[in-house]
Amino acid sequence: MGYKCIRVATAAVLLILLILGPAAAVERPFGEILQALPSASYEAKATLIRELAETGHPRAVPVLRALSEGDLYVRKADQRVFIVRKGEGGYDLVDPLSGEPAGQAGRRDVKRIGINNTLRNVLAAQLASLSLAAPEAAVRRAAVAQMLGELDASLAATLRARLAEEPDRGVRGMIREALALVDLQAADEATRLAAVQTLHGSLTPEARVRLMALAADPEAGEALRTQARQAVASIDRWRSFYRLMETVFFGLSAGSVLLLAAIGLAITFGVMGVINMAHGEFLMLGAYTAYVLQQLLPGQVGLAVVLAVPAAFAVTGLVGVAIERGLIRHLYGRPLETLLLTFGLSLILQQAVRTIFSPLNRSVATPAWMSGAWQINPALALTYNRLAIILFALAVFLALLALLRFTRLGLQVRAVSQDRQMAQALGVRSEWVDALTFGLGAGIAGIGGVALSQLTNVGPNLGQAYIIDSFLVVVFGGVGNLWGTLVAALTLGLANKFLEPAAGAVLAKILVLVFIILFIQRRPRGLFPQRGRAAEA
């Protein structure tokens, strides 16, 4: 509402200015400042940006945003400034003053107006104060958050004014917090005490920093200092609680990555008994499928990632079936030799990818809905990609479990892997079962690869990075037990993340390995061992 009013008002002002002509302009007009941007040095640009913001021009926000996002260009031919949208074939130009389309230009006809980090800071600050009245609460919240860093008296006044009309409770809370931060420096004791009270549960880093400073400030009164110290203690309690939550989240997400990497192996190795050294390369194939799909669907990152899941399943699954039919089926009953064969295969697949896609890493973009974080509070944010992967891993796991539990295939796979000849003699088409199972394991690995493509490099070495961990997970969980794989993956993920802050990443990894070695001494058949007479013999 408020925003609209301002817009109407400023539009009116602008209209008047236009009618009155240049004579009435005390300050330089918006367009003129804008035209000065391209040729200015970085320092000069900073001043220009401030000036642009201060005009209060309705186009200030979009223009500044375009500048900060690198979408503000200058046309080489006439040195005019445009906002640019990258479209098919070329660039669509938008007139910065009117927001109207202004034709097209080729890549080489325009030049971007460069900014650097300092300018980005300036831009962020200016945008923040401009968007304090934005219609979306989230934008306003971000604006307030941005302001926390550089609070001063004038900003405080703006905020105070805003507080009165702010409809959103969350934003109001933030503004209050920001004002309390200002009030900490106030002259009278009471205001300061009240500010400390307000900041008691605050999780923003600035609050803690300033309270700490206050607690250590010899000038401040004893009561104030004690209050501040208590506030810090309470903040720290909350922070360590959220830190624990965060670590758990990290652990679960690390565990789900392990799960996704290992679950295909839990089938090819765990159920079928093929010591599948090429498993890592199946992951890699899945990741490359995601890459290829993104190439095929330019500009549709999200769709490509979603489609990549079935596509990777199909591609890797088929490769798996082909490998099983062509090679591995000759090796049943000679499990150790599958190691040799699949090791050879893994070398071949790696080199094949190197030959086809070059040895360089490929870039797989992350869709918008998997970028960024769900900021629960200033001390706890859950990144969307990790959240997505945790859910995805569980979904894959459950689907697989259902498949093996509720279809005939599951039973037949186990029968075949335990006694191939007898299964045949009972009419089980072991060839089908083998091919399907291996294909399933490979396909699931491919799906895992799609997930990995969202987290890490897509390159020929991708598989190598995960193969050892995958085997560890399957073995730690107990070969042949899907639940074991789940529990093992999550346990290892959590163990790693809980150790890491104390021991460092390297030592944490070593400790986890040592833990596995010791654990296997205690339970020589993993977490969920196969039991019974047959297993003991």
Partner: protein, 277 residues
């Protein structure tokens, strides 16, 4: 003081490597009462199912004892307990007078003189019949002794004899894995003989043997008894009748009846659960 949980199992284990202890001597068995094996109140359960239920059983020195009982009565499980393959939940097993078998590991049980033939013939499939027998041969079985082991002429003789007995002279250099089911049974009996145990546990020796072979086996076992104690589990009543002096009937993990073959055969409970009309 309590050790941290992961370390505790290492201290609990009572198996010790022989580098650390003097060679496990064959404890001289003092068979005061003439019993060579005491099985007392042994209970074994699997996931709540009692395979052995307070089983008590004594085997006497030099005796040939037949144990019969329905499928699943716990006969094989009983042998598992005696040979340390399965640890019972409760009960005691003594060998001779002094040896608590429950505290020994499988090789130690074998070394103190308990030999076993498995229900499902288990031989070393990748080794020749001859080598299978050499492996079984009664001798010092520690690592260092094996490194310097040489077959003495007397031992060679012994093996030849056993080969003769089990009718595998012609197959001596074939791989054990290539033998037929019955031949494997024989080979395992041969291995048992060469182990020279004081107590032989024989689980279903004549399964898959023809009538004539059955007679041979019967003769062999009868000959062994006296000098050694023999426990035979078998379902073939004809065979049992031909060797049995004393028969124990197990049922649901406990002794149902015991006595001479004639007595047992008359027992209505045995007829009901086992023999049939």
């Amino acid at each position: 003081m309590k050790l941290p949980t992961p370390l505790r199992p290492f201290t609990e284990r009572d198996r010790v490597f022989d580098a650390l202890v003097p060679p496990a001597q064959r404890v001289r068995r003092q068979t005061r009462h003439g019993t060579i094996l005491h099985v007392e109140d042994v209970t074994v359960s699997f996931d709540g199912f009692k395979a052995l239920d307070a089983l008590t059983l004594y085997i006497y020195e030099g005796e040939l004892r037949c144990i019969i009982g329905p499928n699943g009565a716990g006969k094989t499980t009983m042998m598992d307990v005696i040979t340390a393959k399965t640890r019972p939940d409760a009960g005691q097993v003594f060998f001779g007078d002094g040896i608590d078998l429950l505290r020994l590991s499988e090789p130690e049980v074998a070394q103190v003189g308990v030999g076993r033939k498995f229900q499902k013939p288990t031989v070393f499939e990748q080794q020749s019949v001859w080598d299978n027998l050499v492996l079984a041969l009664h001798s010092d079985k520690r690592v260092w002794a094996s490194v310097w082991f040489r077959l003495a002429p007397a031992q060679r003789e012994q093996i030849e004899q056993v080969l003769e007995t089990i009718g595998l002279v012609a197959e001596r250099s074939r791989l054990a894995g290539e033998l037929s089911h019955g031949q494997k049974q024989w080979l395992e009996i041969g291995m048992l003989l060469l182990q020279q145990p004081a107590l032989l546990l024989v689980d279903e020796p004549v399964a898959g043997m023809s009538g004539h072979e059955m007679e041979q086996t019967a003769e062999l076992l009868t000959a062994l008894a006296g000098e050694r104690s023999v426990v035979v589990v078998e379902h073939d009543m004809e065979f049992v009748r031909s060797i049995a002096r004393r028969v124990t009937v197990l049922h649901q993990g406990a002794v149902l009846a015991e006595g001479s073959m004639a007595e047992v055969q008359q027992d209505p409970r045995v007829i009901e659960v086992y023999l049939g009309a």
